[in-house]
């Protein structure tokens, strides 16, 4: 009996189409799943000193639980802004190519894809206005929370991950909708994703690298070659580890 599990959408992404022979770790979508915000790291965490993730996905064993997770860098050459990646994941799930020579057998169903982006942490948050809404509803992260607590903006805490949308420059939009009496709505297209944001005009100069998401790995996609075969050694490792995987042509 084939076990079903949530899969990512095989659409064109910010980093292009999936490649033949590739092995992709996925976070799939399900109508009964947990909202994406649960898995976002807010405030985003700085990268540990000495961690070299760029183009080098790595395994990390959490000493507290013994669970091995996958640390992955999301490069700005394909996802200029952290929000680009989050919005794509929201719509189509996550799909990240990994090195098949990694010790995949160390991963388990509790393993997470822990993602880093070069522009995840807003270091200018203290001199900027809080975001209208923190989607994780963390106290004093957003204007709504501060109003509810009768606090002023000087008592805000941060940086809030959801401020990243506010500081996107208007120039980075694909389309701008001017509204009378309101700030413009901007649409930004990345791969198959089109999302909206409303720039406040505040600076994005203070954005620094950080860890912004810890997504559950729902399975792995093995992309077939023209003859229908896949990376057999990776397949064997995934089978040995008892992990969900499937073979697909895209």
């Amino acid at each position: 009996m084939m076990i079903d599990f949530p899969k990512a959408d095989p659409v064109e992404r910010g980093c292009g189409e999936r490649e033949q022979g590739g092995v992709y770790a996925e976070t799939g979508l399900s109508p009964y799943g947990t909202p994406l915000e649960f898995f976002l790291i807010d405030p985003p965490r700085p990268l540990p000193e000495g961690l070299d993730l760029i183009n080098k996905p790595q395994l990390w064993e959490d000493p507290a639980t013994g669970i091995t997770h996958l640390l992955i860098w999301i490069g700005s050459e394909h996802y200029q802004w952290c929000s680009d990646y989050i919005e794509e994941t929201r719509r189509f799930g996550a799909s990240r190519r990994i090195n098949p020579n990694l010790e995949l057998s160390r991963l388990t169903r509790e393993s997470r894809m822990i993602l880093a982006h070069p522009r995840a942490i807003n270091t200018l948050w203290q001199e900027q206005s809080p975001p209208q809404e923190c989607q994780k509803h963390l106290p004093r992260h957003d204007a709504a929370s501060l109003a509810f607590l009768n606090s002023d903006s000087s008592q805000k805490v941060g940086p809030c991950l959801f401020k990243l949308w506010d500081v996107l420059p208007q120039e980075t939009a694909t389309e701008v909708l001017e509204l009378e009496g309101e700030s413009p709505i901007c649409l930004r297209k990345v791969g198959s994703t089109i999302y909206q944001y409303r720039p406040t005009g505040e600076s994005a100069e203070g954005l620094q690298p950080g860890l912004f998401a810890a997504l559950p790995i729902t399975g792995f996609a093995l992309i077939q070659y023209d003859d229908g075969s896949v990376n057999e050694s990776a397949k064997a490792k995934l089978q040995q580890a008892g992990l969900n995987f499937y073979e697909t042509d895209r």
Partner: protein, 367 residues
């Protein structure tokens, strides 16, 4: 064997002024072009040359020197690479003259003068193995330490790195207080600034660790890991090195892993909280490959037109019906420049509706 001596400036040779002199034996007079050429340099370059201790463009002489009067720094560490050159030299001869500087003696004419190889050490070692007794060298009578370092770097950074000598040269440049920025150095060497930055990180390791590297006890890979350690950890390893402890690859890797794990401690706390609030990952009830909301909306569509289904009352118009209608509308829009904005907006709205559709339905129970 006659001694061939030629004196020229690099700039003059670029203009081919010395083609005739190549045929001459014995002394030639230098071209009086130095002052004119110096004045033609831009000011930034002149300032840089001063900081490197260069008052005027370098001059050198080309000579055939006996190999046994050449010192090859780090000779013991290049046995295998010298062997590669040996075969090549036996086949084709020594194609490029190494650069040497006077080390001991009354001058380059001193028959007892000893010269240190500045660039081309493997070539000289290979020539020695190949049985050559005299080789053509480019001879400098004096070089400031900074200029010597710059030449070594220029020579090495354009080829596979003789990384320890390269690092020594860079440390010398840094310690010499020339005060070049990484961009200036990269420009001087003609290499990417990223490479210079990587090398500079190595050059700023604590002296005891550099000592271990120069002694050949630390591999390049381990040296690069040392750079990734915090200053505190580097100082700790430096103190171990000073006490005579060996800085092994395993030790460095262990400390680096521990440093990274410590840095990920806040993440551990967050993940631990998640385990306390179990997620609701339930497989789609269809049991087949989970369809994306996009596909399921399309599957509902059926009819080819984009008109609303006439049997659906307006007050019961559902999200999926709206999504179906929008998707059909988007597909029917002609692909023109005039419709580009409408298509983009429609796609954006479809994606937002799909997200809404995925959100858990809020059910009310009535008894």
């Amino acid at each position: 064997m006659s001694i061939h001596m030629m004196k020229h400036t690099p700039q003059a040779s670029q203009h081919g002024d010395l083609q005739n002199e190549d045929q001459l034996f014995g002394e030639t007079t230098p071209h009086d072009c130095i002052e004119r050429e110096v004045s033609a340099q831009d000011e930034a370059l002149l300032a840089l040359m001063k900081r490197l201790g260069i008052e005027s463009p370098l001059t050198y002489e080309t000579r055939y020197l006996p190999i046994d009067r050449l010192i090859i720094p780090g000779e013991k560490l290049m046995k295998s690479s010298a062997g590669q050159f040996q075969t090549n030299i036996q086949l084709v001869g020594l194609l490029h003259a190494p650069l040497v500087v006077l080390e001991q003696g009354q001058g380059i004419d001193d028959p007892e003068a000893i010269f240190r190889v500045v660039a081309g050490r493997r070539r000289v070692a290979g020539a020695c193995r190949a049985g050559l007794t005299y080789i053509e060298c480019r001879v400098y009578d004096a070089l400031s330490p900074q200029m010597r370092a710059l030449i070594v770097l220029s020579e090495n950074m354009h080829r596979s790195p003789a990384w320890i000598e390269e690092l020594k040269a860079l440390v010398e440049l840094v310690d010499g207080g020339v005060g070049m920025t990484d961009t200036e150095l990269a420009k001087s060497l003609g290499v990417p600034v990223t490479r210079v930055r990587e090398q500079l990180k190595l050059a700023h390791l604590p002296p005891p660790l550099l000592g271990q590297i120069f002694a050949g006890r630390v591999s390049l890979g381990t040296a690069k890991q040392l750079v990734r350690l915090s200053k505190t950890q580097q100082a700790f390893l430096a103190s171990l090195a000073e006490m005579g402890e060996e800085i092994t690859a395993e030790l460095v890797e262990h400390i680096l892993r521990r440093q990274i794990s410590t840095g990920l401690a806040p993440l551990q706390e967050m993940l631990a909280q998640h385990w306390e609030e179990p997620t609701m990952e339930i497989i789609h009830s269809n049991g087949n490959q989970a369809m994306s909301p996009h596909e399921s909306a399309s599957a509902d569509q059926g009819a080819s037109g984009w008109e609303l289904h006439p049997e659906v009352p307006a007050e019961e118009f559902s999200l999926s019906h709206l999504l179906s209608a929008l998707l059909a509308f988007e597909q029917q829009l002609p692909q023109h420049q005039e419709t580009a904005r409408a298509r983009l907006l429609t796609k954006a709205l479809c994606q937002e509706l799909e997200i809404l559709q995925r959100q858990p339905a809020k059910h009310t129970t009535t008894s």
